[in-house]
Amino acid sequence: MASRLRKTSLPYVLLLPGLGFLLLFFALPLVYMALESLKTGTIDTGFQLTWEFSNYTEALKNYDEQFIRSFEYAGLATLIALLIGYPLAYVIAFRAGRWRNALLLLVIVPFFVTYLIRTLSWETILSDSGIVVNTLQSIGILSEDGRLLDTTVSVVAGITYNYLPFMILPLYASLERIDPRMLEAGYDLYGRRRDVFRHVTLPLSMPGVVAGTLLTFIPAAGDFINAQLLGTPKQFMIGNVIQSRYLVVADYPTAAALSFLLMAFMLIIVLIWARIAGTEALLGTEGERA
């Protein structure tokens, strides 16, 4: 009897520390932020909880431009990352042979350099007298006084770069799992390469596409570092607004409301994706005992 009790309570004992920590420092803070978003006042007079729901409509009205821009930039960066990442993941999964692990290591190598410094180095690469700008000017794509830094191009390029490995790794994982016999069967049935790709490889790699786009899109839409370092206020995204409302202006209610709006939009996107992909692929819980 006693051992039976121990057996049923053991998982909860194991869960308690980790789950407790997340409840206390992830879930509870969201409650505090929810309350914060419904307050009125200023940093000098203090904030009172007045259940001011209009904070949300006000915030959305004042910063709709940044919201739209965030999702535009993030969507664009995700699409470009997919176009860059898919062929690379494909080559690593099917062509690399014994170089596979080495190439995978190269893909995650950017993570070993501090995020901010990676972004700063794009400032060097895209700077006004740098090679890229000079080359583009000499072939006439960019005008004589044209620049890349402080434009939409540099911000989107930076975002794409910083989250590209998040795209490649799940793509690789799903491509690598494809049974080569499936492809052979396709060829045996006289499928041309592009038929086999379209009807076998691509559908089988969809879980990777879904996971990769999600892992890229979510952090990209909340990013503010790229817009800050590689852009101007004209490129500022919703993350920039939340950051400055919180840490510079100390307008906590607006910042909190904006955070929740951002999270709500994200959640909607995740749920839509989850419906398409199935929760199992999304949570990575495939293969667990039911």
Partner: protein, 289 residues
């Protein structure tokens, strides 16, 4: 046909090569510019080769203490997050219990939450509580929080392919549950735990956004870089970034190499055929006696 196919192959490989160059270019720039002797305050334009910054990496006011803070926080948050996360992963994979799938989902949410939101929410709580004072402790809490889910997911993926009969064998041979865990389970899941710890360390030492919200006046290395980015970027920043980079790559290669060796050893043992003309290993003797 074959010519066209070969052309297509070549094009695909070239495209993948370009993608790799895009990934690696900024790192090359950072390594190269750590040897620059820049004109002016910003290290953006190549001037001349110099070893000065590498000889005196901590010559910039505040950079040494910032790096020290980052290392302390990374080490501590890695230890806490790895222990808590491994226990959570064990519970989630090994046991059937009420509420497992909601917990699975709950663990996943922090990963799907933008960093600004994580940082801002935690700050709201600390401001309301008034304690602990924003600084080292709050940064540490924040780092354990965002590392936890990553550890759970990494260890969990390792646990899923785990052969439970080994544990049953240990218990049949009279091992207590704790002995079974220490002598069988832990060594087997160790590679997963080590990768999780490495990941946690790398994420912690790199984090800017969440730290920025909860740092008070404590300055970590990324916060130092952020402050510097507006005023002056000395080559020392690139030197320290290069050091962190080289250290992490070395750790990564070492772990991969060790895991591979361990796996090779593990793969040899179970069904290693004993050649008939070789003496039977001593362990097998009692059974026949």
């Amino acid at each position: 046909m074959t010519l066209r196919r070969r052309g297509l192959d070549w094009l695909l490989n070239a495209y993948a090569g370009l993608a790799l160059i895009y990934l690696l270019l900024p790192i090359g720039v950072i390594l190269a510019f750590s040897f620059n002797n820049p004109v002016g305050r910003f290290n953006f334009i190549w001037n001349e080769f110099s070893l000065d910054a590498w000889k005196h990496p901590f010559a910039v006011e505040g950079i040494g203490s910032a790096l020290e803070k980052s290392l302390q926080i990374a080490a501590l948050s890695t230890i806490f997050a790895t222990i808590l996360g491994t226990l959570t992963a064990l519970a989630l994979v090994r046991y059937e219990f009420k509420g497992r799938s909601p917990v699975n989902f709950f663990i996943f949410i922090p990963l799907a939450t933008p960093e600004v939101v994580l940082g801002a929410a935690l700050l709201s709580q600390f401001l309301n509580w008034g304690t602990p004072q924003l600084g080292f402790a709050t940064i540490l809490i924040a780092h354990i929080m965002f590392n936890l889910s990553f550890v759970v997911i990494t260890v969990r993926s390792r646990l899923i392919g785990f052969d439970r009969s080994l544990e049953e064998a240990a218990q049949d041979l009279g091992a207590t549950p704790w002995e079974t865990f220490r002598l069988v389970t832990l060594p087997l899941i160790m590679p997963g735990v080590v990768s999780a710890a490495l990941l946690a360390f790398a994420l912690s030492i790199d984090d800017f956004v969440i730290t920025n919200f909860n740092s008070g006046s404590t300055i970590t290395f990324p916060l130092f870089v952020w402050g510097a980015a507006r005023v002056a970027i000395p080559p020392q920043i690139y030197v320290i970034a290069s050091m962190i980079f080289l250290f992490t790559v070395a750790m990564m290669i070492l772990t991969v190499w060790q895991q591979r060796r361990a796996e090779r050893m593990a793969a040899v043992r179970p069904d290693e055929p004993t050649a008939p003309d070789e003496p039977t290993p001593a362990v097998a003797e009692p059974a026949t006696a």
